[in-house]
Symmetry: C2
Subunit: 483 residues, 2 copies
């Protein structure tokens, strides 16, 4: 006892001594009313200074775990009891959980998907490349804001969001052409919480939802978790197949349509201006609210300027816009936003309060300060240049090594690749994995089994130039052998 | 046009010029293919430097909004269109929202409760006193961690949590006597998200839940939002009325019991060791999982050392523990944790991923670094001393000005006050508000209308000594007049 104290470097020594003694008491190694070693004895046994032991004993007394008797020494508190054995209370949690929990686990791609292993060339991620992060400016933004109002940032904030950031984002959306009359904003823990809140806020009438097919797999998961039946509308090179869309709308009522009009995930397609106008007209006609996912808007490499769909709505209120900088700036900061009709935002605010009180004020204020220091524009310029370079490299490599494929994608951090119909990209993936290369099989993004089995998504943001070349070459060679 | 540019101080000037021009194009003030003023002209009109205009034009070109014709000037992109008028699309969102959204709004005390106004002496808050925050150490923790792995912190993290923090908290709970065998941890956005996740994860069998009466009003709200029917068990000075508890358990099956065994909200009661043992025995006997809210454990001022209930469970797995530092450290950092059976945590992790991907890595890593720098113990000591002093002041003032009342509370940031039965604290509150003093009427925390109408909760953490004296004196005088 005592001499087996093992010190680690990451905590003050007196705290480690205190914790050691506390553990002894709680585990019965030291009993109630038992005398503790003197500070001199313990310091010798533990090979720490006497002042360290004195500090540790003071802390233990402060916590009510020991008491001092003048001239006699320190004793374990009378109230310390060895834990009652309730060890026989064994619940089988697998039978205690809800259908929702079971489905959330089943649909969890991080658990059941094809993850990448260390050392592999992985095209699975569409997260930003952290080498581009301007840490210096992030640190400055933090220190700037902490100096201004650190106490405020660390205490409770408001469910709707941190006011300066809300105002900044409202202006930011206005600059994209959004008419803010009658609308309001809610800050969320990224796109995902925003989407979850909106789905929970909508009254189910038909219980049916429209979406692009293929589409963002997290969105598919969350729509299913909210018990929506999904109808997918096929994608053409300039956006939704409008004939099919109108056909579906005529055939059945829908509670909502989830759409990614710009740099769609996974196809990278930008919906054309003409189709946008028509989509809004149809949704208005059939009174189907649109949930717009604006996640990638900033990452344009070529083609015309793209506005979000909500910018074409005027003061109409049938569209709920979900914004995020997670693909452009820092996903570790969980900050997204919803722009929608003020009445809806009012409900969403109460739901947000009930579920997580508010989004981290630190994240929000750091982001605000970073943005308003003017760092975003500079960062975006640098990031866009770098991603565009990689994007073009991927396109060149694909043309060279996979000349039989059709590729799509005009921006963002990924490209979508369609093989001739006889290919099976899951088989290709299995063969490539052996050679240390992974990608996301495209069927992940489709609603029905058997769809998109000859497609793949290539995320390139975090792959080096050398590995882009090598990886796509390996995919190409492997595909050629499989023919 | 142009000369009405109004510059603000918080953003670089060239960005404000860019945004001004962009807004003009999007709102139709500048039409597709129209020529822009020369940089020299615009600089004169806007009273900004020519280099600023050059920068702004370069940004606009970069965004695809304008194009340059050599020797001629800059032109608005052909693709810019004035927004289509979809202004007639008006949905009535109040009829589009779900029952859940409507209830979340109805139960929202921030909207429908008795909030405090500026300048009032308010005893409504139980948030920590931000004057105690050691900003210096928070800044250092941030810079330490950013320097070590800033890129990692700003990119996507893991749903289960930031590993160093998870390990720290596991050890922290072990030091409270928790047997971690078969258990695991999940990091959440504070207690509230943790509670919401656990409630969503439990299979509804009876649809009934047990709780203390009174209890934490956010917990009542969330239990109701999850459609649980609540049975309240009365509180005695040493914890639950065990006779009533057993009676309820015999009478009906329950899906869960939500308990706050230490420094209960609102009564401040600490459940006695003997009652803790009996509660666990009963819950085990009737197989009712316990959700333990450990929110205030650190704020002990007097009495014996208090362990969480989970520390008495051995390796039994029938209890789900929800931890938070929000009342002790920084609530602006939204970080809480769940300790429970590993199989349950596995489901909760997938639910967490589906709802918000993960908790802010920045918050988690900052908290970890702050804790492992040894700041927590020092801060806690200082905070405890200060809160204890205030606590004792409140007790003295209550005895002086409200001698007819019974008070309870042995720790935390509030006291609970029970008036003789003829008093109505909502009437008292109305009379006190006129005099600039507010508190939380105790009935807020009770399950049934008409209960606790002669009680109030006094949160003292953010009230100055002078205002504590003045406020309680006013409450006392007002109560005397109402007799």
């Amino acid at each position: 006892m005592y001499s087996d104290l093992q010190l680690t470097e990451d905590r003050p020594v007196y705290i480690q001594v205190k914790d050691y003694m506390k553990r002894l008491m709680l585990k019965g190694g030291l009993q109630a009313k038992q005398k503790l070693p003197s500070t001199r004895e313990l310091s010798t046994l533990m090979k720490v200074s006497r002042s360290t032991v004195l500090l540790a004993y003071a802390e233990l007394e402060d916590e009510g775990l020991i008491y001092a008797v003048k001239g006699k020494g320190n004793y374990v508190s009378a109230s310390i009891e060895t834990p009652e054995a309730a060890a026989n209370w064994e619940l089988d949690w697998t039978t205690e959980v809800s259908e929702y929990a079971i489905q959330a686990e089943q649909y969890d791609l991080m658990k059941h998907g094809s993850g990448a292993e260390r050392g592999e060339i992985s095209f699975t991620s569409i997260a930003p490349d952290e080498k581009l992060f301007d840490l210096h400016n992030v640190k400055r933004a933090f220190l700037d804001r902490m100096s201004l109002e650190g106490e405020v940032l660390l205490n409770y904030g408001y469910a709707q969001g941190y006011r300066p950031l809300m105002n900044y984002l409202l202006r930011y959306m206005e600059n994209k052409g959004v008419d803010l009359r009658g609308k309001d904003i809610l800050i969320t823990n990224g796109f995902t919480e925003g989407f979850d809140l909106v789905l929970g806020a909508l009254r189910k009438k038909s219980g049916k939802a429209l979406c692009e097919n293929p589409t963002h797999h997290t969105a598919i998961k969350n729509l299913k978790l909210h018990q929506f039946h999904l109808t997918g509308v096929n994608m053409e090179p300039d956006g939704l197949d409008l004939k099919q869309l109108e056909h579906e709308l005529e055939a059945s009522p829908y509670d909502l349509a989830y759409l990614v009009p710009s740099y769609h995930n996974p196809t990278g397609i930008v919906t054309s201006p003409a189709k946008r106008v028509e989509i809004i007209r149809l949704m208005n006609k059939y009174q189907v609210p649109i949930i717009e996912d604006g996640f990638n808007e900033e990452l344009r490499y070529s083609g015309s300027h793209v506005s979000p769909l909500i910018a074409s709505m005027g003061k109409g209120n049938g569209l709920v816009y979900l914004g995020s900088f997670s693909k452009v700036l820092f996903p570790g900061l969980r900050v997204g936003w919803i722009i929608a009709d003020a009445a809806l935002i009012d409900y969403l605010e109460s739901m947000k309060r009930a579920r997580s009180i508010h989004t981290s004020t630190l994240d929000q204020s750091l982001l605000y300060q970073y943005l308003s220091n003017g760092n975003f524009e500079k960062y975006l310029k640098r990031a866009r240049t770098e991603y565009k370079r990689k994007y073009e490299l991927v396109v060149r490599c694909l043309k060279q090594y996979l000349p039989m494929c059709r590729i799509s994608g005009a921006g963002g951090l990924h490209l979508f690749v369609q093989f001739p119909s006889e290919y099976r990209t899951r088989e290709l993936l299995a063969a490539c994995k052996v050679k240390g290369v992974t990608f996301t099989p495209g069927d992940t993004f489709y609603l029905e089994p058997g769809q998109g089995v000859n497609t793949m998504r290539l995320g390139f943001s975090r792959v080096s130039d050398e590995n882009i070349r090598k990886g796509i070459r390996i995919i190409g060679e492997t595909a050629a052998q499989m023919r």
